[in-house]
């Protein structure tokens, strides 16, 4: 017995001794000029080849590094590589922070391909990241715009020049979760979608998940747009102002103290003035937005705390007397914490509050006033646990309390008041492992509140899985699956051509949550060192969708019922990258069907073919020429078969029905059976940047929208025969003035 006890004690001592021979190395990677943390940088121990990538907060951890002397090599796209020698000894974790210098020539990662993707995202099949350069490079109306830029990505369909509402892999526009620093945006667009409410100058990264997104995200069926903003400059004060035909912008940032940076930016539309002076037209639109952010971070610490807010407003004024006026207002605020905890945990926490209100006002008694309010408070926390290997565990929770209010007058002239408060409580865990040739990320999200409300178990237990396997050279095969649910939706008449007022409501309790299952397979790799390719095929099954109850006859029957649907297709993305020229081509094939109790139809956004071509030429430093061409096959619409005069039957009796004249009732053909003409358009832009007096940087640019003046149909007024086209040939110019430190 004594022998056994001694043996156990010896084993314990040896074990402790062995454990004590390894320590963790951790730290953050930041921009040397601005102090901005750099996500997705690669950190590698040169001697062993072991590596890790920084997370979205720029934090990395190399676990259990044996005692010794190492060279740590850190690299990130757009930054100069840095190497540092580190002596690993003792028992406490070693903190090594890096500050990388930006590269002189921008080679910023743009659309993720198989060649240069951050490790965290490497397993996902359907994720794209956009950097600031890419966002600015896509020619759009006068200024860069994140939500219009993502429309070039495969799988994303935009149906209109003047409406940035987008449809991802056959999902409707309310199925996209748009986050800005954790804040959910319910109205991410200005001016009917001509711009997004987030100024692209503020963005650090944009992650776009077009399917099978990770377990941290829930509450939407189709996609996640996760936007992260920059911190203010920690070294110098900096100011910038921009003006173009459509808006003006002013931006200030800089250090408040050594550990606190602030950033504030505001935009205001100039529509009414420029349209009146240059086009002799009335533009009743106006908008503004203000973003502010305060960051608290110690350069020597890995903690980081942010407080940020986004305030936006839009107005649409009446053109003719009696026309309604519209107003949209939103205020969103969030507090963010990024902090390591214990030896191996990293917490990422958001506490947010948002208020969105939209309103239609009218002095015309024939147009009823309506308003819609969404209030939402949420707490989101995701914890990463770093294991001894490169494997990671993620777990977390989300408490989300959206409440909606919709005041309206229905077509009977009856005022209605629709309110809902549907708590969303989600919890998740997933495990990420990296073998020699196979990587996997498997997990589960549980919608606890939905489960307690008695929702179908299929909607509340949501497995998520992603696999990535090496094939040959740097080619990879990928597959993923995920289940998603949604309980806050918009209600619109799908046949509206330009929905101006789109109210958000909580799902009525007689309906099951919307539910979808995503299946994705694909391969990606490099055809040539600078030529990458990504092929994907997807199938999206909608087990539950909310749709108009076409069989409704009378009161007491539900307005909406649960329908089913499916979407499937394929995507191809080819990219050629070179310091002088950048070429990008994306093709998407999609087919969407909605099944309403056996009545099957294609929704309005079922665009079969979408092609996006983008070329950027940089013939010399700070001079860019970009050309973009987009093609979309015709969207579905319902043809008119004619009209008949429908009798209303008065008050029933004794009014004789046969003396009524009746009111015109349109006779529709098969729903969405016809197709509009194909859409195509070419845009071009030229921009040049130069510095004066060493402290003023100028950016001047000229954009031409619809270079060959294609008459793309926007809508056709069914009752008057009037055809309205989208944007024609439209040149714009912009100038940006930046005060350098």
């Amino acid at each position: 017995m004594r022998f056994i006890t001694s043996l156990l004690a010896l084993s314990f001592i040896l074990a402790v001794s062995a454990v004590s021979q390894v320590v963790d190395i951790r730290g953050v990677v930041a921009d040397s000029a601005t102090g901005e943390r750099i996500p997705y940088a690669n950190v590698v121990l040169k001697e062993t080849g072991r590596g890790a990538a920084t997370n979205i907060s720029g934090f990395y951890l190399l676990p259990s590094v044996p005692h010794g002397t190492y060279e740590i090599v850190v690299s990130a796209v757009g930054y100069q590589r840095q190497t540092r020698r580190v002596v690993v000894s003792g028992t406490a974790a070693i903190v090594v922070n890096f500050r990388l210098a930006p590269q002189a020539i921008e080679l910023e990662e743009v659309v993720v391909t198989g060649r240069a993707k951050a490790e965290q995202l490497d397993i996902q099949t359907s994720v794209h990241t956009l950097g600031r350069t890419e966002i600015k490079r896509v020619p759009v109306a006068a200024q860069g715009d994140i939500l219009r830029s993502i429309a070039i990505l495969p799988g994303i369909v935009s149906t209109s020049d003047v409406n940035a509402q987008f449809y991802v892999r056959g999902g409707s526009s309310d199925q996209n979760l748009i986050l800005v620093d954790g804040m959910r945006l319910y109205n991410p667009f200005h001016a009917f979608g001509l711009f997004s409410t987030v100024n692209p100058d503020l963005l650090s990264t944009a992650e776009v998940y077009t399917g099978a997104f990770p377990a941290e995200y829930g509450g939407r069926l189709s996609s996640v747009i996760n936007l992260s903003t920059r911190d203010g400059n920690s070294a110098h004060f900096n100011g910038r102002t921009n003006i173009n035909f459509l808006s003006s912008n002013i931006h200030l940032e800089g250090p408040i103290t050594q550990n606190i940076q602030a950033l504030v930016s505001g935009r205001k539309s100039l529509f009414s003035g420029t349209f009146k002076h240059f086009l002799k037209q009335t533009a009743p639109l106006s908008f503004y937005d203000v973003f502010f952010k305060t960051s608290i971070k110690n350069p020597e610490s890995q903690d980081k705390y942010n407080v940020q807010g986004l305030i936006t407003g839009d107005d649409l004024l009446a053109i003719e007397p009696g026309d309604p006026t519209y107003a949209w207002r939103s205020q969103s605020f969030s507090v963010e914490a990024n902090l390591p905890s214990g030896n191996r945990l990293f917490w990422h926490i958001f506490a947010t509050y948002g208020l969105f209100r939209q309103e239609r006002m009218s002095t015309n008694s024939a147009i009823a006033p309506v308003n819609n309010t969404v209030k939402e408070a949420s707490l989101w926390a995701n914890v990463t646990y770093y294991t001894d290997t490169k494997d990671l565990y993620f777990f977390g929770f989300e408490f989300d309390f959206p409440s909606t209010e919709y005041n309206f007058v229905n077509r009977l002239g009856e005022p209605g008041h629709l309110t809902s408060s549907i708590p969303q409580i989600g919890s998740w865990v997933h495990y990420q492992t990296r073998g020699s040739w196979l990587r996997a990320d498997v997990g589960m999200r549980v919608e606890i509140a939905s489960m307690l409300r008695g929702a179908d178990i299929k909607a509340t237990l949501q497995p998520r899985a992603n696999f990535s396997a090496d094939l040959y050279a740097d080619w990879k095969a990928k597959a993923s699956y995920g289940r998603f649910s949604q309980e806050v939706i918009t209600i619109t008449n799908e046949d509206d051509i330009l929905p101006v007022f789109v109210p958000w409501i909580g799902l009525p309790n007689y309906l099951q949550p919307e539910r979808s299952d995503h299946y994705v397979v694909g391969i990606e790799g490099n055809l040539l060192p600078s030529l990458s390719m990504n092929l994907q095929s997807f199938y999206k099954k909608y087990g539950s969708l909310v749709a108009y109850n076409r069989d409704k006859i009378e009161g007491g029957e539900p307005d909406y019922i649960n329908a089913k649907g499916e979407a499937y297709g394929g995507e191809a993305l080819v990219r050629y990258s070179h310091p002088i020229i950048d070429l990008y081509a994306a093709y998407t094939l999609t087919k969407v069907k909605v099944d309403l109790n056996g009545f099957i139809y294609a929704p309005r956004y079922d665009r079969r073919h979408t092609i996006n071509l983008l070329g950027t030429l940089r013939p010399f430093k700070n001079f860019d020429i970009s050309v973009r061409w987009e093609f979309g096959s015709g969207l579905p619409y319902t043809q008119t078969l004619g009209f008949y005069d429908k009798l209303r039957l008065g008050n029933g009796w004794p009014d004789p029905f046969y003396l009524e004249t009746g009111v015109p009732q349109v006779l529709y053909g098969p729903k969405n059976a016809a197709r509009l003409p194909a859409y195509h358009r070419m845009d071009a832009s030229v921009s040049y940047q130069f510095t004066m007096f060493d402290f003023i940087r100028w950016s001047v640019g000229v954009n031409v929208i619809n270079v060959y003046d294609r008459k793309n149909v926007f809508y056709f007024e069914r009752t008057t025969g009037q055809r309205v086209n989208m944007l024609g040939f439209f040149p714009t110019a912009n100038i940006t003035l930046e005060f350098l430190p």
Binding site: L412, Q639, L649, T661, P677
Partner: protein
């Protein structure tokens, strides 16, 4: 896919006229009517530019109960509403034809150009209606009655999908040229004085409502009731006397109208589901006409009569009546029901 140069759009499919048919069989009359027209394709797709009602005269219209077939003949009746069309309304009529309850009728319209369309309806059987407050109606008005409602109780046949109760006061006058003709004055369910000096009032009348009574079981009959605030009856008497010369009241009549399923389905969709809570904005449609548009439905009318003394003095005389009318605690109904006198 690459036919991108094609840029024309046709919002309309190739136009092919369809027969549109409206017919409602009624047990309350010996003449039945059918309206027949075609759908139309107006200039620029704008229906308000259409100036022709597209009625058809050269079609065959019959209604059959299985044993008897009733032929209809084309006629023209004066149009009351000439906002859209100015000519008379073309209708098909059959006389004498009083349909029977519990029978299925088939409407058939045949056209050598537009083909044949059909529709079916079954008229609900006998319901019942009675008045429980005969004494209050027949006696001279008294403030003692003002807190009590006038109640009519009724029951429905199993085929009735919706019902409507209407309450009329029948009277004669000695107005110049009246010649002893009987007049009907409908009593509203709500009557509110908006401006007494300008004589602007707000009245609400009953509309067809969905059946709420269960179907009869084992001979058991379910009764429903409708109540009218007594002041509205009193105010009706007052207005009749005020506006006419030497009024003689004859009787009060309660009518029960039972609508069949086809009639109600069409009516509900033509009036936007009759759903005050609906958030829908799409225009619903319904038709039971096979091969065409429109509908073929029916209703049955029953009534109960309460004799009235010829001379009733409404109580109280103005200006006190305003107080009683405004004491009615009822919500305002749809603005569509507003009437200005």
């Amino acid at each position: 896919m690459f036919l991108g140069c094609e840029n024309s759009i046709n919002p309309s499919a190739e136009f092919s006229p369809r027969l549109t048919v409206f017919s409602v069989l009624s047990t309350a009359t010996d003449t039945q009517f059918v309206r027949v027209a075609t759908s139309y394709n107006p200039p620029n797709g704008n229906p308000l530019l259409n100036t022709d009602d597209h009625s058809l005269a050269d079609v065959s219209v019959t209604i059959s109960d299985g044993s008897t077939t009733y032929p209809f003949r084309y006629t023209a009746v004066a149009r009351e509403d000439s906002n859209r069309y100015t000519g008379p309304i073309g209708v098909f009529a059959a006389f004498p034809f009083r349909p029977l309850a519990n029978k299925e009728y088939t409407l058939t319209i045949s056209s050598p150009i537009y083909g044949q369309v059909t529709g079916k309806t079954v008229i609900p059987g006998s319901g019942s209606i009675d008045c429980f407050t005969i004494a209050e109606l027949a006696q001279p008005s008294s403030p003692a009655y003002f807190g009590k409602p006038v109640i009519a109780q009724f029951s429905l046949h199993d085929l009735a999908r919706a019902q409507l109760v209407r309450f009329y006061i029948v009277y004669t006058t000695e107005n110049p040229g009246d010649d002893g003709r009987e007049h009907y004055y409908e009593v509203p369910t709500l009557w509110r004085i908006i401006n007494d000096n300008l004589d602007i009032t707000f009245k609400v009348f009953p509309t067809p409502t969905k059946r709420t009574a269960p179907l009869s079981r084992r001979g058991q009959t379910f009764y429903l009731s409708v109540s009218y605030p007594y002041p509205t009856y009193n105010e009706s008497l007052y207005q009749i006397k005020r506006r006419n010369f030497n009024v003689r009241f004859k009787r009060a009549v309660f009518f029960l109208v039972q609508f069949d399923e086809q009639w109600y389905k069409y009516y509900a969709t033509a009036n936007l589901f009759q759903d005050k809570l609906s958030v829908r904005v799409d225009p619903p449609d319904y038709s039971n006409v096979r091969g065409g548009e429109g509908f073929f439905g029916s209703f049955r009318v029953d009534s109960v009569v309460v004799p009235l003394p010829e001379l009733i003095e409404p109580y109280p005389s103005p200006p006190g009546r305003k107080i009683f009318l405004e004491s009615i605690q009822a919500p305002l109904d749809s603005p569509r029901s507003a009437h200005v006198h």
